[in-house]
Symmetry: C2
Subunit: 377 residues, 2 copies
């Protein structure tokens, strides 16, 4: 096996594949890239057991030769080392050749590296990246939006919750592709139009989904297919697969209140800044709790802490409709929800002091952020 | 006690004083700033036991009123909270007033903070910031250079070495102010001209010294005084004091070889890049060992690792004088030394395979970097 490749393209492909390289692995083989020269070009495979990536560099790109002097074959090469070295090189091209079995040589400009720790490609686990089940295509920027605006609300891997709360539920219903993420205390829901015929209901791990959409740079379309236990995303020269989390997703739209009694319209920037300042009082506390006290003439953000004191700030510009209301919440949840909406102003709809409330972009019905209030003294 | 202050000046003064605020303290009082309004202005004091800082904001700066509506008095206020809040505020002015004893109020624009965790200023430890002993003045940029080019070579706090190796030795001899730092395996020595009369020999903790020079922004002169156990730096509206480390500094100029048998002239950038690349082979190892193999016609940087393999790179442009030589060293030490010199090309002078070698800027005799080679297989 042998190839000479443009460093720029090699670097890009490795940085894609590196997203599935684990920091540590029970199976040490996964610390390698599987490199294979075929009639297609140079194929690179990586996997951390949950997410697997396959990408290839063809012989030519945009009419320019990027891969030459190849002989077919495959080998496993240490991923961390390859990333590190290829990143530091400054030559235009890199030559890689297997000398025998587990011993390879990398030459770039005046540098020469002998890799004595390569491994037989045959030993690499079987990675199934073939699309299966329903398959459909959607614009890559739409999928990115869907993920950016919802995945943050999934439970983090740190929390001891049922596995399924670490997933984003992707579901096609009546011509809508809906993404929902919840950690039990908040819900983020976004929908985009899709083909009426489409059938899908998959719990995709939020972390994997976030990694996958980061790879869409410059890609216009993504094809997605899902079976019971895995989803496969194909885009450009790359295929990424992730395991799915089984089980019913513990959320239905009936959780979202339909009728509200109060509405607050306010500038996103002003509300976030006030919450940030006021919550400085809760610096040492695990959860930053902030209270919003609203009446027609005034809206005040406040917080208090037994050890530090208390803070309050009145909001200058707002419109509030309804009976006076005071409601406490996790400051970080509200800030994350407002940021996900990405709009200059927001509408918060309340159904009562202890009822979940909804944060919305007044110009975009497709996204809903629901947050459960907190009980305070 | 009460004051209204321009936020910009308050922020700057707090960010100075914050350099002496500990992350955690055996004496919890040190987690506070001592704030005092006097006839001078607003005085802020902080200390972590090793380094202490006093700075003040006068009533007027550059003809502009920055401090007004004051009443004299003092209080201790939580440093972390003040930094956090003042940083997040966007009003032009901030008003701070003590309501009674340990309870204060901070008002800025539409925000109001009640601080119930303030403490009596009388409880703050006595901090002696009066200059004492020999005192002399030098340009602030010279002291910054002295520190930037030497302090990196002091032993880090992590290492189990005698305390004195964590210091930079500042010594005035025959009209030269010399800074020396060594961790036992390398030495960095820089001298600048000073007054012939000056007497000084102080072991200043390297960490404190690095913090202090960071405060020199916009300052032209520093006055330095030292007694047996502490040094005091005065500059602008600020005084910083640090404890000194007692004991003889374990280094004399006689350690620096005077005669050499080989010389290598090489580009700083090229040598650093080659060492960085080649040492990628030693990624998992505690010390990155690299070897330099030199003869008249070729200079090769190489490294090898039992687990990963080996690497070599030849340097394109160089001049080597002397018998062939091969020498191994800690890659990070040589890179740090070259960076400290800040010159485009360097000269390395060798006295033999197991003798310390010297890295120099050919145009600046005032700085010497000495490195001990390493034994390898």
């Amino acid at each position: 096996m042998r190839f000479t490749i443009k460093r720029e393209q090699f670097t890009k492909a490795l940085s894609m594949a590196s997203r599935a390289i684990p920091n540590a692995a029970t199976n040490a083989l996964l610390l390698n890239y599987r490199l294979e020269v075929t009639s297609k070009g140079l194929e690179i495979t990586s996997s951390n057991g949950n997410i697997s990536i396959w990408t290839y560099i063809p012989f030519e790109m945009n009419g320019e030769e990027v891969l030459r002097d190849t002989t077919e074959g495959a080998i496993l090469a240490n991923a961390r080392f390859l990333n590190d070295v290829v990143h530091k090189l400054d030559s235009d091209e890199i030559t890689f050749e297997v000398i025998d079995g587990t011993y390879a040589r990398l030459i770039a400009g005046k540098s020469e590296f002998k890799l004595t720790n390569c491994q037989d490609a045959e030993e690499y686990p079987d990675i199934d990246l073939e699309p299966a089940g329903n398959s459909f295509t959607l614009p890559a920027p739409h999928l990115t939006e869907l993920v950016d605006e919802t995945a943050f609300a999934a439970a983090s891997a740190m929390r001891l919750v049922t596995d399924v709360l670490r997933a984003v539920n992707l579901k096609a219903v009546n011509g809508q592709l809906i993404a929902i993420a919840t950690d039990g205390a908040r819900v983020s829901r976004k929908s985009i139009p899709c083909d009426e015929e489409l059938m899908l209901n998959a719990n995709v791990p939020a972390d994997a989904l976030k990694e996958i959409v980061k790879m869409f740079d410059g890609v216009s379309e993504v094809s997605l297919s899902a079976t019971e236990d895995r989803a496969v995303f194909s885009f450009g020269n790359t295929v990424a697969a992730t395991r799915l989390i089984s089980g019913n997703y513990p959320f239905s739209d009936s959780v979202i209140p339909k009728s509200f009694t109060r509405y607050l319209d306010v500038s996103s920037r002003q509300l976030i800044a006030a919450i940030e300042r006021v919550s400085a009082m809760t610096a040492n506390e695990k959860t930053r709790v902030v209270r919003l006290t609203m009446e027609e003439e005034s809206v005040v953000v406040s917080s208090s802490s037994d050890t530090n004191g208390s803070a309050k700030e009145s909001i200058e510009t707002f419109e509030f409709n309804g009976e006076p209301l005071s409601i406490a919440f996790n400051a970080d949840f509200v800030i994350a929800a407002i940021r996900a909406l990405g709009s200059e102003s927001i509408t918060i709809s309340f159904a009562g002091e202890m009822k979940p409330f909804i944060v919305r972009n007044p110009d975009d019905e497709a996204i809903v952020e629901l947050i459960t209030p907190m009980r305070t003294r």
